[in-house]
Every structure is written in C-alpha cells, then in structure tokens.
C-alpha cells in the first residue's frame, strides 16, 4: 500500500512541478480543435450533416480522448525514462511489491490524464455545448476508464522498450493510428470492412463514441447520435474496462519480471 502511494505521489509531484508541461498539454487540444475544426469544417461545409452541431463540436470529444491518451501514455512511458536515468533500479531493488509499483504507476498515469482531461471541459462552453453537472460526472467517469486503459497500455509497451527510440514507436505506431481510427474526425457509419474491423479493436473508438454521446447529448439531434454511435454508453464503458484488464494483466506481469 505504501509503495503504491509512494509511486503515485512521486509522479504527481513531478507533474505539478512541471508547469510548462501542464500548459503545453492544455494548448495542445486547443490547437487540434483549431486545426481540425476550422480546417476540416471549411472543407466539409454544406455537405456534412452532423446532427445540428458544428464540426468543431463534433471533433471535441475526440480531442478530449486524444488529450487523455497522450497524457496517460507519456506518464506510463516515464518508466523508460526512469530506466535510462537509473532511477528504476532504486525502485526495483526495494522490497516494494512489483504489483504495487505497477498499480501505482497505472494510478498516477490515470490521475494525471484525468486531470488533464478535466481541464479541457471548459472548452465545451466555448463550442456551444453547455454541460450539465450530470454530463460532467459521466464524462469524468468515461475519462477515468480511458485514462486507466491507456496507462496500462503505455506500461505494457514501455516495459519492453529500451531507450528513446521507444518514443517514436509509441507516437507513430500507437498514438496516431489509435487517434485516426477512433472516429474522432469522421462518423463511423458506412466504413469499408477493413477499416471497420480496425475501428472495432481500437479502445479509442469506444471512448470517443461514449464521450461524444454524453458531450453532445443536449446539443445534437437525438436521432443523429443514435444513428452514428457504435454502442450505447454503458456498453462502450464496459468494452473499455475490458481493454483495461486486457492491457493491465500482461503489463503487470511484464513489469514484475523485468530485470
């Protein structure tokens, strides 16, 4: 228990101390919204029917998901940094149980990613999506599950990675495909089969789907949301929880076995 808390506390201390990191990861979603929202919506104007919401508002839930995935993966990947910097040895040689350490890491990644995700919520009002307290609570719940799943995924990958090349692997082969195939930028209806398969094995797709249904609940026409969704919110969340366990078990095992 003490090891779990110690690992969590260290990561949070580092996060809160690093103001510029908080700032950049806040600026990032804004930038994405500006680029995707403005750029793509001018391309689509007139043709797309998005249930009465702007394209920027349509993209917004995906950007929340992206922020969370980004933060969670990078917190988990600090394991690679710690290995490079030698700090990991200090942890691995201690009597702390590896399980507690790995879970502490998942908890800290999830907490930090959730905090970052919550910081993107005020943008909703700017985009004409006034959220009720109920919506905020539901969004926070989905974000927490997504954050945990992404951190577990990051931990799984980072126990196998050596060195800085790992970052490039993560960005190019994990983050970008996961985001682009999440349905953040386009509705998931009527996709070709191969892409549909890729979407359905992508945890980000379920997160985006759930976040969108909740965030746009008041603003978009109900018929549009029902027609363009993958699953009801509860099912999406269950699938995400499934992904979390699927990533967590091998991640903890790999973390415990590492030298």
């Amino acid at each position: 228990m003490s090891a779990f808390y110690t690992i969590w506390l260290r990561d949070l201390t580092r996060f809160l101390r690093n103001r510029s990191r908080i700032f950049t990861s806040l600026a990032q979603p804004l930038l994405y919204l500006a680029i995707f929202g403005t750029g793509l919506s001018s391309l689509l104007s007139g043709t797309a029917s998005l249930g009465g919401v702007s394209f920027t508002a349509f993209v917004y839930p995906g950007v929340i998901g992206l922020t969370i995935m980004f933060t969670a993966l990078f917190t988990a990947i600090s394991v690679v940094y710690d290995r490079e910097a030698g700090f990991l040895k200090e942890v691995l040689v201690s009597p702390a149980s590896r399980l507690a350490v790995a879970l502490g890491k998942v908890a800290s990644g999830a907490t930090i990613a959730l905090l970052q995700g919550l910081l993107t919520l005020p943008l909703a009002w700017l985009l004409g999506l006034p959220l009720t307290l109920g919506q905020v609570v539901q969004l926070a719940g989905i974000m927490a599950v997504l954050a945990a799943a992404c951190t577990a995924l990051g931990l799984l990958v980072s126990t196998r990675l050596r060195g800085i090349e790992g970052y490039n692997v993560i960005i190019n082969f994990l983050m970008m495909p996961l985001f682009l195939l999440s349905g953040a930028l386009f509705p998931l209806a009527g996709l070709p089969l191969w892409m549909d398969v890729l979407v359905r094995i992508n945890p980000m797709a379920y997160a985006t789907d759930a976040l969108r249904q909740v965030a746009l609940a008041g603003a978009a026409q109900p018929g549009f949301l029902a027609a363009s969704r993958l699953h009801p919110v509860a099912v999406d969340v269950l699938v995400l929880l499934g992904f979390f366990v699927l990533f967590l078990v091998p991640a903890v095992r790999a973390f415990s076995k590492q030298e």
């Binding site: 201390t13 200090e90 691995l92």
Partner: protein, 328 residues
Amino acid sequence: MSHSIEAHGLSRNYGGLRAVDGLSLSVQAGELFALLGPNGGGKTTTLGMLTTLLRPSAGTARVAGYDVAAQPHEVRRCIGVVFQGPSLDEQLTARENLDFHARIYNLPRAVFRQRSDELLALVELAERQHEPVRNFSGGMRRRLELARGLMHQPQVLFLDEPTVGLDPQTRRAMWDYLHTLRQQSGVTIFLTTHYLEEAEGCDRVAILDSGTLAALDTPAALKATLGGDVLHFRVADVQAAEQLLHAEGLAVRRGPEGLAVEVGDGPQRIPELVAALERGGHAVQAVNLRRPSLEDVFIKLTGRAIRTEAPDAAEALVRRGRMGRSRR
C-alpha cells in the same frame, strides 16, 4: 560463524558473453569485503545478481540467508544498495529523494524524518536539501546516494564504487562513517572499488578478472603471495637486462617503471643486483624499491598470471593506465 553472502558457481551471460563465470565466495556477517577487478571484470554484474536485479544464468547465491532467485523479496528487505551509475530522481529535491526511499521501504514517518536529518548532516547536504537534485554536482549526488542507501539501516550493504567522484575529505568521512556503522550495527559491507588503498582497509579482498575469481584473501595474505619486495630498475635495454636477471634465477617481469624484480629483502639486494646489471653492460638509470601493495597483486593477477604466461609489459601498462583513469 554465519554467512551473510554465499555464492556457488554464480554465472551470468549477456548473449554470447559470459560476464561472470562460476563465481563462488562467501562473506561472513559483519565483514567488510572488497571486490576488485579491471573495467569489465564483472563486478557490477556480480552485484546485480546478489542484489536480485539480474537473474543468474547459472549457480546460486544466498544473501542474509535467502536465495536471490527464489526469495528476492526477502533479500531486498535486508539489503541496501548504492549503484555505480546515477539512480536519483533529478526533478525531486534531495529531501524528497530520501522521503521516497523511506516510504518505499515502509519506514515510519517519525523515524525517517529523524534519519533524513542525520544523514543529510552527515553528507553535508542539509543546507541544500530543498533543492532539486538537477542542481547538484556529481559529488553531491554521490553523497546523497550514499545517504539514501543507509536510510533503512540494511543488514547487508552493497556499494558499487561508492567513492568515485568524491573529494578526499568526503571519502575519508564516508569511510569513517562506514567503520563506525560496522562497529555499532554489525552491518556486512560488500563493495567494489578501484582505489587500492581502500581495499587495503577491508577484511578480505576478491579479485575478479574476466568474470572469474583470480584471488580471494586478506590483503596481507594476498601481498604475501608476491614473496616480498619489488625492485624496479630502469635500464636502456629492457629485454636483454630481463634475460640477464632471469638467468640469475630471479622472478622478473616488465613493469611500467622498467624491470620489476621480486626479492625477499629489497634494500639488501639493491647493491648486488645493480652490480650484476652493470657487469652485464646495463647502466642502471634509476632504482625504485616498492614493498608489495595490493596494486602489485592486482597487476600480477590480472596483467600477467591470469591472461598470458609470458609477461606483456604493454598490456600491464595499458591496464594500469586504465585503472589510473578510472580513479577520476
């Protein structure tokens, strides 16, 4: 007498390289034990296996009575480790690094507050305890790592080149503290070092070369194997002079300072040997008498006796240069 550390046939491969090869040794409780060896000799790898960070490829080891492979958790509870490379969190302050350690070792808060104060004072970092480690010099970091390794008062302490990068005063202070600690708490200390004068102060010394144990004994016994003093003669034609002395039935080898001759009683043999060399037409430019040191044992074992039958002066020189450099 109980054994704190016991290794039997301990080996470790990295791919095709056998970094440690069939190492067997035992260290008694309360002993101060030094592992000596050239760079790449396998010291850190040995420490890694004894501290449960590396799985042995073959062989077994017990530390504080527990098997390192089967009971790593129990071993970890009993040991403190100061690593050769960096191992601090640079973004945290000195104090926070100690706090992290204390928490992860489950020390009660009241205890670790007090111990942090004591140890920070000991390593003279009390004034800068609230600065991030990022701002610290190499020696300050090393001092903090030492303090951290002592935080939880381990039963067995592993130190991998603990005094590298420390100035002489700090080195002395650290050694004084280690000796005091040993007297007070009976801690077993297993360390690697390149400072031979530090190894002299240890109870026993093991010399590890290319992953195998080249010698293991008390410093006095190791020096006794050299059979007395060593005389160094500087002459122009080293090879011919070597043959000449060899013909006299003496143990001669080429050293960094010319010819090195092992004799029983150095001061008395100088006139005789100088005369013999001059008779043979070798002008002696300088003579140096050295009582055997661990360094001689080290050079003898790792530079000649172990690697090649014939002495290879160039190799000995290179090895020596390497050791000299790593002192900095």
